[in-house]
Every structure is written in C-alpha cells, then in structure tokens.
C-alpha cells in the first residue's frame, strides 16, 4: 500500500500496488487510471492555487493536475483512455465562514482537468464528511470510504484480479458483484481445463 499524503502524488504501473489517500477532508483525491496500459496515479491536492510558488507541485490544484497528467503520460498512459475520478472537497466545518476551501479545491481541479481536455468519469465530492480513496492499480478499481461506513466503488475494477477484492472490506465485493461474478464464470472453465491437463 502506498500512502499518498497531503501534497503528494504517486503514479504506478505495478499491478500489486494500492494507492491510498487517507482521511481527505477539504483536500481532493484525484485518480487517473489508464487500464489498458495498466497505469494508475493518485494526487492528494490541498489548496486551489499556488500563486507565485513553484515548489510543491502536488499541493496546489493548478499545478498538481497538469503534473499528474504528465506523469501518467510519461509512464505510457494515453489521455483519451484516461478514466478520472475526483473525491473529497468536503466542507466539514461551518465556522470556516466564507472560505469553503473544499468547494474551491474541487472547482480548481475540474477547471484544470477541463483545460487539459480530461473528462471526469466519476466524482464523490462536497458534503461534510471526510473520505478515504483507494486505487487498486492492477484492477483499475477506485473506491471511496466515509468514516463509519463501508467502501463504495467509484470506478469498477476489471475483474482480472478479482480475488484480491476479498482482502478488502466485505461490502466492496458486494458493490462490484458484476465484475467478480463475470470473472468467476470465465475462470471456471480454465480451472477445469487445467485439471483436465493435469489428469
């Protein structure tokens, strides 16, 4: 498991990797998956605008979005195959007054994606609860979890490594039933063939 902390981003081509942004509040978790290339990236974006700062590209929406796109491309990803998910951007405390950083973060991330010609495939944003986002690189599976609840699938995984779902929390499996049962069906004949060959 690779923890993606505030202001960090990770791009992986290792099918066994799981990229995780724990406890996103007003921050945004931006996941980009190119499943045919087996690449996934996750950025944990903290603030909307970098102003005149050029360090910490991952911290600000206007610099983190192009950087993540560039890194996924650099690893062999192709923009038109991108499946992009946005999660987080909650307004957790009323007392922050007019400064709704969560909403501003989301708007800035979407604007930067727009500018790069990347469409958002799924989003789980706003509200007043924090979220944890997980990206299973091999499956291209993106899930979101809220405190005290079970994970919800944001981007359904390809069932190739469906068994790994079982290591996650129970309801994840239930949510992605179609994917795992489809693989189950595909797998059985293969298992039978293997037994046949062995006999």
């Amino acid at each position: 498991m690779a923890a993606v902390r505030m202001g960090e981003m990770v791009v992986s081509t290792n099918a066994d990797d799981e990229l995780v942004a724990l406890g996103l509040g007003s921050c945004i978790g931006l996941a980009i998956v190119d499943r045919s290339a087996g690449i996934a990236g996750l950025a944990h974006i903290v603030l909307p605008e970098s102003g005149d700062r050029s360090d910490q590209l991952g911290k600000f929406a206007n610099t983190a979005v192009p950087e993540l796109i560039a890194r996924v491309r650099g690893a062999g990803g192709v923009t038109r195959r991108f499946e992009t998910c946005v999660a987080g951007g909650a307004r957790m405390f009323e007392m922050t007054g007019g400064l709704d950083i969560g909403a501003r973060n989301e708007a800035a991330v979407r604007a930067a994606l727009d500018q790069a010609g990347v469409r958002v495939r799924a989003a789980e944003t706003g509200g007043n609860q924090g979220r944890t986002v997980k990206v299973a690189v091999g499956q291209g599976l993106v899930t979101v979890r809220v405190a005290g609840q079970s994970a919800v699938t944001l981007l359904a995984g390809r069932g190739r490594r469906g068994d790994d779902l079982a290591s996650g929390r129970g309801p994840t499996i239930a949510r992605s039933t179609t994917a795992s049962s489809a693989t189950g069906a595909l797998r059985e004949p293969r298992a039978a063939m293997r037994i046949g060959a062995w006999l």
Binding site: R5, M6, G7, E8, L22, G23, L24, G25, S26, C27, V46, L47, S50, G51, R53, K59, F60, A90, M92, F93, E94, M95, T96, L99, I101, G102, N128, Q129, G130, R131, T132, A147, G148
Partner: protein, 200 residues
C-alpha cells in the same frame, strides 16, 4: 516562509501546554468526579503533512470538538475522543452518546476543557484568549486535522501542534487535546515569554 522553531522555543511551548492541560484536567476531573491522568505534552513544529501523521492514525474514527479561538491569538483548540470512547464519556455524564443530548454534552465538555485550557495559557502569558462556540464533528482523524491545519497554516510549510492527552482513570476514555495557532501567531504566543526570536 516560516523560520523553524528552536529547541528552547519548543520547550517553552511544551511547558505552556503542560500547564494549560493541567488546568483542563482539573476541570474534567471535577466535572466527572473521577481522577484524570495527563500525559507529557508534545510541542511539534512540523510541515502540515507530518503534523497530520503525528496526531495519529488518519483513518481513526473520532468525535472532534473544535473551539475556534479569538483575541490576542487566533487559532483553534481541537479535542478528539475515539468514537467508541465517546460512549463511556457520555455515560459518565449520564447521557446517551450519539444522540442530540449526547452530542450537546460532548460540545459542552469541549467548551469547558478548551476554556480552562485557554485560562491556563492566558494566566501564563497574559494574553487575552477568547473561545468561540464549539463545533462537534464525527469523522476520520486525518480529515479533521488536515482540514483544520489547511485553515490555520494555509499554504505555509510550518504547523505548530501542541498536544496532550487526558485519560479518565478506570474508564476506556482518553481525550487528546490540540492547540493549532494560525500561522504567524506562533511568535505572539512566545513573545510574552521573551522568546519571540529564534535563539539558536
């Protein structure tokens, strides 16, 4: 960018936290008619990202009471009670946790503890510190702390976290206590002690 804090400054802040949390522990002990143990407080000057990690498991489900702070110093006091332990704290007060009354009781505990903490801090530094009404939020620790730190530290690279832990004897009930001053206010906290300038 913020200069980092020296060891002497951090020691002084730790001592402030120690005395302030002592005052808060006394208030809690009187309220619950129980003994309350205080851990040795920590004063941490870290990047916001490390500060979140230093506060505990980011996914831990906690009841967080936030008391915004105004007056000579701006910032906030945050109390965190593990979600499941909120029940034992509420039952000590004779109310049901996770109900309207229970939530109100937690806010009130936050209010009393934060106020006595600030009184302790004020007595030491001579600063006028004024608590605002408390907010209760049940959520993941990381989401609460990171969102608050983004609010207090902004885009700065330095966050100051003063934390202490209060344990109610004989009950599975511990409250962690954090003071997060808004960036730029840290030197105001140190000035009354004659330590506003970095000393090493």
């Amino acid at each position: 960018m913020n200069p980092s804090l020296s060891d002497i400054q951090l020691d002084a802040l730790r001592e402030l936290a120690n005395i302030a949390s002592g005052t808060a522990a006394t208030a809690l002990s009187q309220m619950l008619a129980r003994e309350v143990e205080i851990s040795v407080p920590r004063a941490l000057a870290l990047s916001p990202v490390d500060a979140v990690d230093a506060c505990g498991d980011p996914e831990r489900h906690v009841a967080g009471v936030v008391v915004p702070l105004r007056g000579d110093i701006e910032g906030l006091v945050l109390l965190m009670i593990p979600f499941e332990q909120a029940e034992s704290l509420c039952s000590l007060l004779g109310v049901q946790a996770h109900t309207e009354v229970g939530d109100s009781a937690l806010r009130e505990i936050g209010n009393i503890l934060a106020t006595s903490y600030l009184n302790g801090l004020g007595a030491m530094t001579g600063l006028a510190l004024e608590p605002s009404p408390p907010h209760l939020h049940n959520d993941m620790l990381g989401a609460i702390v990171s969102t608050l730190l983004v609010g207090t530290a902004g885009a700065d690279d330095l966050a100051l976290v003063l934390d202490s832990e209060l344990d109610v004897s004989g009950e599975p009930c511990s409250i962690s206590f954090l003071l997060l001053p808004t960036s730029g206010q840290i030197s105001d906290l140190l000035a009354p002690l004659g330590l506003a300038e970095p000393t090493d």
